[in-house]
């Protein structure tokens, strides 16, 4: 594979990608990781406590 700068990275992503296939669905591992991270971030954002509880309590 022709590439120029993958060697400059700590993790070289300049190899042919890995793909997961299920029926007609085909998704790259990288894209799946991004999607899972998005859902995980969304869920974490919903559940993690937000700072400033004391000042909100005092304002009531």
């Amino acid at each position: 594979m022709a590439h120029n700068w993958g060697l400059g990275a700590l993790v070289n992503l300049d190899h042919y990608g890995h793909y997961l296939n299920w029926h007609f669905i085909s998704i790259s591992v990288s894209n799946l990781v991004v999607m899972i991270l998005m859902v995980a971030t969304f869920v974490a954002a919903l559940f993690l406590p937000f700072p400033g509880r004391r000042s909100r309590k005092e304002s009531r």
């Binding site: 594979m1 022709a2 590439h3 120029n4 700068w5 993958g6 400059g8 990275a9 700590l10 993790v11 070289n12 992503l13 300049d14 190899h15 042919y16 990608g17 890995h18 793909y19 007609f24 669905i25 085909s26 998704i27 790259s28 591992v29 990288s30 894209n31 990781v33 991004v34 999607m35 998005m38 919903l46 559940f47 400033g52 509880r53 000042s55 909100r56 005092e58 304002s59 009531r60």
Partner: protein
């Protein structure tokens, strides 16, 4: 008379407390965090940069594929020759029922594959008697003569060979086609065709329509893309070369190309765009669509977001 409250359209009046919230500090922290995260990702993963291919690299890597494609451009049987609008009137435009905006808008980027990809580039070369004779023979022939050469060529096209720098077309009924293909392949392999395709309108250009269309008609570009899982039937629109993440947000757009009727229709692109335009309109107009705008209230995810507020209310 009091207006009735619509929970999915109206918002209750908030009479509760306000708390200190430093939005400038929040914004500054966001910029710093995003900048640092960007630097970290760039250092760890870098970015892809697969070198562009040229007509020169293509014709040297696969001279048979190049010669076959050039032949198709000359006789008008290539994908671009039969594309239709906006390049030419060589083929039917995509449509759905009576709707065919491609056809209505017509030819705005004129491309005649025989002239633009073969004859004119060859004419730009230094004069060679055999080449000049072949060009004259082709351009002065009648339409029916050209058609008979084209028909004979099509029959033997898949048996074209390349050896000792020579393209061989195994037929004697194809007129000047072999001579033209040989000179064009030589021109391509030297890099001169890349130049000729972009300088037709003068010295300066930033418009690569012609060489890109020519490249797209061959198998070489597509084969390289398929190896990288970028093909249309490989969910390619979402993907990037190598193992880099691609464009996950295009998942729904590329999804339609994988299923019938989109994947088998000659107007598949138009159908996909039509579908996506409707869905996009739905997204933009959510606030005005009963049922759709009720989903958040029924999903109840908001009870997690505002749990502190509801707990205090109790």
């Amino acid at each position: 008379m009091k207006k009735s409250f619509r929970p999915d359209v109206d918002a209750p009046e908030y009479k509760g407390p306000y708390a200190p919230y430093d939005i400038i500090k929040e914004g500054t922290i966001a910029v710093v965090v995003v900048a640092l995260l960007t630097v970290a990702l760039a250092v760890v993963f870098s970015s892809p940069d697969e070198k562009a291919i040229t007509i020169k690299t293509w014709s040297n890597a696969d001279p048979v594929d190049f010669a076959m494609t050039a032949g198709d451009e000359l006789i008008g049987s290539s994908g671009v020759a039969g594309y239709g609008a906006p390049y030419n009137n060589g083929g039917p435009s995509q449509s759905w029922g009576f709707l065919s905006p491609e056809k209505w808008l017509g030819v705005h980027i004129p491309v005649n594959t025989a002239t633009d990809f073969v004859i004119d580039p060859l004419k730009s070369q230094p004069t060679k008697p055999a080449l000049t004779a072949a060009i004259d023979q082709w351009t002065s022939a009648s339409a029916s003569t050209q058609s008979s050469w084209a028909a004979a060529y099509s029959k033997v096209e898949s048996n074209i060979t390349f050896a000792n720098d020579t393209v061989t077309v195994p037929s004697s009924k194809v007129g000047p086609i072999p001579v033209l293909l040989n000179y064009l392949t030589e021109m391509a392999r030297s890099g001169a065709l890349d130049q000729a395709l972009v300088t037709q309108n003068g010295f300066y250009t930033t418009n690569y329509t012609k060489p890109l269309l020519f490249l797209s008609d061959g198998a070489y570009l597509g084969d390289l893309a398929t190896k990288q899982h970028l093909g249309g039937d490989q969910w390619g629109m979402m993907n990037e070369t190598g193992q880099y993440p691609g464009q996950a947000w295009l998942w729904l757009y590329t999804f339609w190309y994988q299923i019938p009727p989109y994947n088998s229709s000659a107007s598949g692109d138009f159908l996909v765009w039509g579908t996506m335009m409707i869905l996009t309109a739905l997204l933009i107009l959510v606030p005005f669509i009963p049922g759709l705008r009720s989903v958040p209230r029924r999903l109840k995810i908001y009870r997690i977001i505002w749990r502190e507020h509801y707990a205090v209310q109790k």
